[in-house]
Each structure stands twice: as structure tokens, then as C-alpha cells.
Symmetry: C2
């Protein structure tokens, strides 16, 4: 009964930063619809297994990519009779952040391949309305950082202030002024100095920081 119950799904834009560049995870679909097309990872809600849409997104992501995600944020819900060939459907979109050092995702069930792509220069034609979804997710992430949130979920457990700045620059797609950036985050309670720990190299050592225990992006 396509017209009685809509298809309820979640889609996730999983972001990471590799080599100072923002990347989003795309998957190549093994099954219909859109078999062989690239898309954002996503899947159908299972009320018998999921406690919420966010829970469903988490489960779908784990099954498709074998990675566990520390942070999910809801972006929006799209809907309509034509966005999925299977009929009237709604999809709740999330974006997620993954530290670069955990981004060794592998293809899981129902997936032919995965790839970390530049979210602004799509090298694949995306299935369904996923071009628009990716745009919405990136925009939501940027707005959050624009408003001063620190994307610490993209970083390893210990990081330098320069690392934080580089992550923000990768997200925003532009260079940030070092002094202004540090002034902004100077009194940020999310940042905890790790006493006595420094990143060393052939230059002045950089103080290590960590996310505060209660930190939420």
C-alpha cells in the first residue's frame, strides 16, 4: 500500500578531514533502486530495532561502513511522492563527524564500494535527491562552525590549537586569521589544556589540548 504508509529512511553525510581537506563518505549502491549509483549512506527505518531516527541512522551507518560514529546532528527531513522510485517517502538527514585517524571505513553489506570525496566538487552523479541533501548537510555544518562551535569530533583525542584551526578552515573552505581565531576560542570551556604535553618538532613546541568531558559539538 504505497499510498497508505510512506517509506521512512535516514541519510547521513559523514564528514572527516584528510590532509587538511574536508571529505564526505559516499557509497556505491549494490542493490536497486539506483543500483551502481553513488549516494550518501542511508537506509530504511526499522521500528522493531531502532529507538529513534538517530538510532536508525547510527545503525545504518555501522552496517554499511563498519564505523562507529561519535556524533550525529539532525539537519532536516525531506519528503514527497517522487524523490524515491519506490513511492511516497520521507528521509531525515543527519550529518556526522569522524576523526581522520578513524576514517579507515570499509564497505559493508549492500555496498559495492566507498569513497571519501570532496563535498563541493562531486566526481560522481549522486542518486535520488542526494545532491541537494549533501548541500544541506554541508551548509548546516558550516553554519554551526560559523557560530563558533568547535568541530573537535574531527580531531584525535589530543590536538593542538593549530589542528582545531585547520579543521575549521577545511570546513569553511577559507583561511582563518590565527590571532583572531585564538582570541575567539581563548575562553572556550570545551577546550582543556593537557599540562606538560606538547607536540614537538623542529620548531617551537605546541601545547596539546583535549575536549572537555561534557563536550558536545
Amino acid at each position: 500500500m504505497k499510498t497508505l504508509f510512506p517509506l521512512v529512511t535516514t541519510d547521513i553525510a559523514l564528514f572527516t578531514v584528510k590532509d587538511l581537506r574536508l571529505r564526505v563518505l559516499l557509497v556505491k549502491r549494490r542493490n536497486d533502486p539506483s543500483h551502481g549509483f553513488w549516494a550518501l549512506p542511508g537506509g530504511i527505518l526499522r521500528p522493531d530495532q531502532d529507538y529513534s531516527l538517530e538510532d536508525s541512522a547510527q545503525r545504518v551507518l555501522t552496517r554499511k561502513t563498519k564505523v562507529n560514529i561519535p556524533y550525529l546532528a539532525q539537519v532536516a527531513t525531506v519528503s514527497g511522492p517522487n524523490r524515491d522510485p519506490r513511492g511516497w517517502s520521507i528521509s531525515t538527514l543527519y550529518y556526522a563527524l569522524l576523526p581522520c585517524n578513524q576514517a579507515a571505513a570499509v564497505a559493508g553489506d549492500t555496498i559495492e564500494a566507498i569513497q571519501w570525496c570532496d563535498p563541493e566538487i562531486p566526481q560522481h552523479q549522486l542518486a535520488f535527491d542526494h545532491p541537494r541533501l549533501l548541500e544541506m548537510a554541508l551548509s548546516a555544518l558550516r553554519q554551526k562552525v560559523e557560530r563558533g562551535a568547535l568541530p573537535l569530533h574531527l580531531l584525535p583525542a589530543k590536538f593542538t590549537l593549530t589542528d582545531v584551526q585547520h579543521a575549521c578552515e577545511a570546513i569553511m573552505g577559507r583561511r582563518l586569521d590565527k590571532a583572531a581565531f585564538r582570541r575567539q576560542i581563548k575562553d572556550e570551556p570545551a577546550l582543556q589544556l593537557v599540562p606538560g604535553e606538547f607536540l614537538r618538532g623542529p620548531q617551537r613546541p605546541a601545547q596539546f589540548y583535549q575536549a572537555a568531558p561534557a563536550f558536545q559539538f
Copy 2:
């Protein structure tokens, strides 16, 4: 099969400004579940009638209150097995704006009564998770105005700059500085001066403005 298909609904926080105070529309439910309780207006998605969730919200609102709404904005989608006694459900929340001079809504089908209430001092115990939904909707509306958007949908076709300021003050719940407010909106393309038209009274006349044709909140 409650566990196979979730119940898909929309809920709407419809705001207006009466006598310089922000008000939200609440309805008293005539049917189960939560018969006799007050709640945000909302209803079940009908894929055979609705072209989108927003369309569904619009339809539900028209049926319940006999008012047609010029603006709907999606806030978020909530979900889970326990938020509605009928079983696993999802609800997409919208907020909407209605000009004060069109706020003569009447109770429609499935509604016992309606009331315009202070969204911050609930005089009724709300059904389901609607206290939280109302809080989310109000917060989303305030953030939008905080970022400089002008809630012209709350105003009649022609209005003065003081009217705009009063609407913003009602939403934000605090007084705004007149000079600063006018500086901010001075070059706002959404505002069009109506030449030669003034609000007159026992004081200096106030210039009338209207929303630009392409205006979207």
C-alpha cells in the same frame, strides 16, 4: 503492524502577536489519544492527499483551525516508540507565522476549542511531548530573528518600522534599542517604503512599509 510502519505526523506551533505579546495557538483535543488535553495542532500524514510534509502540515492546520497560513518553517523531526500511545511514531515539527489581524481562527473538526496562549507560561498541561516541541519551535523562531530575519509575516500588509520592532520584541521577550534596530534594518531589501503613506495620529506621522515581493522570512 505497529512495528513495521511508524505513525507519521506533523505538528505546528502557530505564532502570532496580539497586543504586543507573542501567542501560540493551542487546541483542545476532541478525540483519543489524549482526549480533552491541550496540544499543538497536528495530524497524520496522508500520502494520497499530501505532496510533502509541509503540505500535510498546511492541510492539517487548515482543517483544524480554518486559517490559511502564509509561512511554515521546519524545525526538527522527533521520533521513538513511546512518544505517542499509538506506537512507534515520528513527527515533523513546523512553526508558522500569522498576522494578528487574521488570527480570528475558529475550532474545526476534531477540535473542541482553541486558544492563543503565552508560549512561555503554559496555562495548560500539554499532551504527548508537546511541551518540548513548543520549546524547540520558540527557540528556532528566536534564533531566526536573532540572526536578523524580519518576521513580516506577523504584520499586516502595510506596517511601520515601529511595528516591526514591536514584533521582534514580542518574539525575543526583551526590549530592543530603537536606534540600533533601525540601523540594522536600514538597508534590508525585504523592506519597501510605500511612498506618501503614513500612519497618522496626534504625533509625527510614521512612514508605512511593505514586504518586498520576493520576501521570504
